[in-house]
Symmetry: C2
Subunit: 162 residues, 2 copies
Amino acid sequence: MPKLAQTLIVIDMQKALQYSYNFSGLIQSINNRISQYRQANLPIIFIQHNDQDVVRGSELWQLSGKLDKQKEDIVVEKFHPNAFYQTNLNKVLMQNGVRTIELCGAQTEYCCNATIVMAHGLGYKILMEHDMTTTFDNDYMIAEDTISFFENIWNNSFVTFQ
Amino acid sequence: MPKLAQTLIVIDMQKALQYSYNFSGLIQSINNRISQYRQANLPIIFIQHNDQDVVRGSELWQLSGKLDKQKEDIVVEKFHPNAFYQTNLNKVLMQNGVRTIELCGAQTEYCCNATIVMAHGLGYKILMEHDMTTTFDNDYMIAEDTISFFENIWNNSFVTFQ
């Protein structure tokens, strides 16, 4: 089993993204990882995005029902791609004594990228497994290539892949 | 003339990047912008990258000789894509009372992206003009497409383009 960080952060796995690349497969992989963090009694943090298209309380805003989210898990709502921006995420991590985090979720080039860069900049050590983020095809690349492209950018400089 | 920020930050315009897309054209555009900041007596900050391929003191490490760099300009050396990471950049900005910055330079998907996300996360307001960063072609996109792709990601969420 890949090494655990001190917390697992699951970014924006909301119904609005249900048609992104391999969404169901990613949920299975995330649930497996969640289960390992639960067994180790480590906190699991779900980030939940809000914007004009993903409106709080709407169906699309809900976290996917297939995600293994339990009552004791932490939820941090955000209004910007960067999950640290004007949220209490940094405070929550400090309160839990967290210095190493594992990240997964969506979307690769938006919220994952911004949150990874910021977390690293704030001094957190970041662990990831490959193919644990997702996105949509865009004007330049299919989703799988966007994921590879960003994993290459993150690798070593921001993230330790395992 | 596009509005000026309180400082212009020029990222990694070093000889190591002299064969990146439109490098000479970008230097001309940056020099034009530098001239406008000089006329307004606003500080200009050059970021200079160091790593195992771009070794301090080597030819490739030098800022391009065509860049309008003057003795009074500030130079901040870095060892990571994020220009705020383990540098005094944030301190320099605070000492100069800077809250709004304009960014340009290289490489789009590495040092520019990381520095933009971090600057925004630290609360700076970021102005940019289009086509003021550069990079190389990569396995997925030609340089021009990488620039457009990232400008679309930055636009509104991180940067005000003008």
